[in-house]
């Protein structure tokens, strides 16, 4: 690198664009700030506030339990009564003035429930890129019209906390035609009427991902060209024209992720295999056939024809020994995710084959693993990050070592990359209670190697952990964020246990069951 002074006459004139100055520097690093730090930065100085306040509003969620903020004219007493009735805490909700002033900065909006507030905000929401709502109302239609050049993700689905809270979305395709930036759609209860095939096709041409859940496609998309941009296609419990088998698949040559999750319809495997055999599956890396009625041998054939397969889900299916053999012989060094819950044909022997051969496996969910196999397992997948298994046959383990379940715990201990562990035990009720009791004297201490664990779900173990076991848990698993299961000595001491856990790990969330956790997540 040489330097010397330069004569100005030899310069080439380059016009400068509008420049950022030092006042805009906070804006540049704001994307790396967590929320508490961002809030602190707002109070540093006027220029930092001006630069950073819009960042606070970039992503905004309005939940069903947020009533309209008190208008200025409403008497204080009424506001207090409203607060008492709804449990609404004013400090947790922005003022109407603040909302209206900053709505123009909102790029990601999640809006759940029938809140009248949206009507007041709609005129200001002109920079939306992401919109997730539960109802297709007049306000939502207006938002689609106002954000034709910016909106790239639209999610319209029913409220998970209110079963049946869906309104059939009719004639939405006409409104989606004008959204030039649209790339991702997820629709619940959509209809493609028997005259909308062309519009549906025109919309599909733009998309990178399309998810239709509980929807009805009375007409196939009409298109002379294939959907070259579509990378992800999810069809769940959706009704399609009888002749459209496999659904839409043949129109998407660049598909990377395909999900056909249906409890009612049956995928025409023969046609699917014809398409895959013609090379249509070369780009496919993720496949989800959960709930399908495809037989084991056909699943094996499908996997054989997918050279790029890395993520495969087939829970509640007939996945069994043949498909396992293909995974172990042809995909053992590429498969990263395998989710096979509630597959009666996938037993302990099949699970052992997967765990010993699939070297790149990061996520594995299986119905059962045999305790004796588990105790002698030679892991082929030491990089596992998520493991969801139930252990069967614990009582048949020879108890020659102490702690009594050293074999199982020491095997789990080598999986030092685990972030999510869901552990259960399958036992005949006549045999007595569960043996994997998650106690220190039974071998729990061996799991001290799981320093990265974030989610521990022992709901299916029903452990009875004493105070010293819980103390060990919070002092060892410092990354733990979620604990699912009844880990308390007894029900009466549940509150005390939770208090203790919260005092040691303030960010820890505890749930009795996975269902409780799912509801809580849906409510956020």
């Amino acid at each position: 690198m040489n330097t010397h002074h330069h004569h100005p006459q030899q310069q080439v004139f380059i016009p400068s664009d509008e420049l950022l100055d030092h006042r805009s520097v906070p804006l540049l690093f704001s994307r790396f700030l967590d929320k508490p730090t961002l809030l602190a930065c707002l109070r540093v100085s006027r220029s930092w506030f001006a630069a950073l306040e819009p960042c606070l509003w970039h992503s905004f969620t309005l939940l069903r339990d947020h009533p309209s903020p008190t208008p200025p004219h409403q008497p204080r007493q009424d506001a207090q009564r409203q607060q008492n009735r709804t449990g609404f805490h004013p400090r947790r909700f922005p003022t109407l003035g603040s909302l209206q002033r900053n709505a123009r900065h909102i790029a990601r909006l999640r809006y759940f429930g029938e809140l009248p507030l949206l009507k007041a905000l709609v005129p200001h929401l002109n920079q939306l890129r992401y919109l997730e709502v539960t109802r297709y109302t007049e306000e939502v239609k207006q938002l689609l019209q106002q954000n034709t050049a910016t909106l790239h993700t639209l999610i319209l689905k029913g409220d998970a906390l209110i079963p049946g809270d869906t309104i059939l979305i009719d004639r939405i395709w006409h409104h989606l035609l004008n959204l030039s930036a649209l790339r991702h759609i997820e629709l619940n209860s959509a209809i493609v009427s028997d005259y909308e095939g062309t519009k549906f096709g025109l919309v599909c041409h733009k998309l990178a991902s399309l998810s239709l859940i509980d929807s009805k496609l009375l007409e196939r998309p009409k298109s002379d060209d294939e959907f070259l941009r579509l990378r992800t296609l999810v069809l769940e419990r959706s009704f399609l024209p009888q002749e459209d088998q496999p659904p839409l698949f043949e129109l998407c040559p660049a598909l990377e992720n395909f999900a056909w999750r249906s409890r009612s319809g049956k995928l025409s495997t023969f046609k699917f295999l014809i398409f895959l055999n013609a090379g249509r599956g070369e780009s496919l890396s993720g496949l989800d056939l959960s709930g399908s009625q495809i037989v084991d041998s056909d699943l094996a054939s499908i996997i054989r024809l997918l050279p790029g397969l890395t993520r495969f889900r087939a829970s509640n299916s007939l996945f069994g020994s043949e498909a396992t053999r293909v995974i172990a012989e042809m995909r053992q060094h590429q498969i990263q995710e395998l989710v096979l819950l509630q597959c009666p044909g996938f037993g302990p022997m099949e699970a052992q084959v997967v765990l010993t051969t699939c070297s790149r496996l990061r996520m594995f969910s299986a119905p059962v693993v045999n305790a004796e196999d588990m105790a002698q397992l030679r892991w082929g997948c030491l990089g596992l990050e998520e493991l969801d298994i139930c252990i069967v046959g614990t009582r048949r383990l020879r108890q020659t070592t102490t702690p009594r379940h050293r074999g199982i715990y020491s095997q789990l201990a080598v999986l030092i990359n685990l972030r999510v562990l869901r552990l259960g035990e399958v036992t005949d009720m006549e045999e007595g209670p569960f043996l994997l009791d998650m106690k220190l004297h039974s071998g729990l201490g061996l799991l001290s190697t799981l320093g990265r664990l974030e989610v521990f779900d022992c709901e299916k173990l029903k452990p009875v952990m004493e105070f010293f076991d819980l103390q060990w848990l919070v002092s060892t698993w410092k990354s733990l964020k979620t604990l699912v299961g009844s880990v308390h000595p007894n029900f009466e001491q549940r509150d005390l246990s939770n208090e203790f856990l919260a005092s040691q790990l303030p960010n820890l969330e505890t749930y009795l069951t996975q269902a409780e956790r799912s509801l809580a997540l849906a409510g956020r």
């Binding site: 690198m1 030899q10 790396f32 540093v44």
Partner: protein, 155 residues
Amino acid sequence: MTVILVSSDNQDFKVDKEVAERSILIKNMLEDVGESDSPIPLPNVTAAVLTKVIEYCEHHRNDPVQVPEETDDPRKRSNDIEEWDMKFMQVDHEIILAANYLDIKPLLDVGCKTVANIIKGKTPEEIRKAFNIVNDFTPEEEAQIKKENEWAEDR
């Protein structure tokens, strides 16, 4: 092949073209101008800052070109800075501004992550001290901002 970059204070920097093109701005300029020996003026970058930028680009000359991310997630990680970058980076907003102007995204990211790591977890007063910033809010204004944005603590 080499190119000549000219800083705002008229210092020349002779740099390999491959290194200079780590800056998308310079890359685009070179494509527009075509084969030319004309120096490229950078009126918004001083010699001191340009020296640092070139040092960074030379160290990273063989890194793969970063692809723009489509994700909208505004909360990015800041704990993945390389050791060399950590030692290289000084808290200097001029480097961040230069990286933004020259469109060198990896350098911009490193600079921004470094700053973010410095201020993470600090109070407003501690942040002011770290960057020598004068507080131009009244106590009432600062309290009002805190109160108005308390809702965001729960999100």
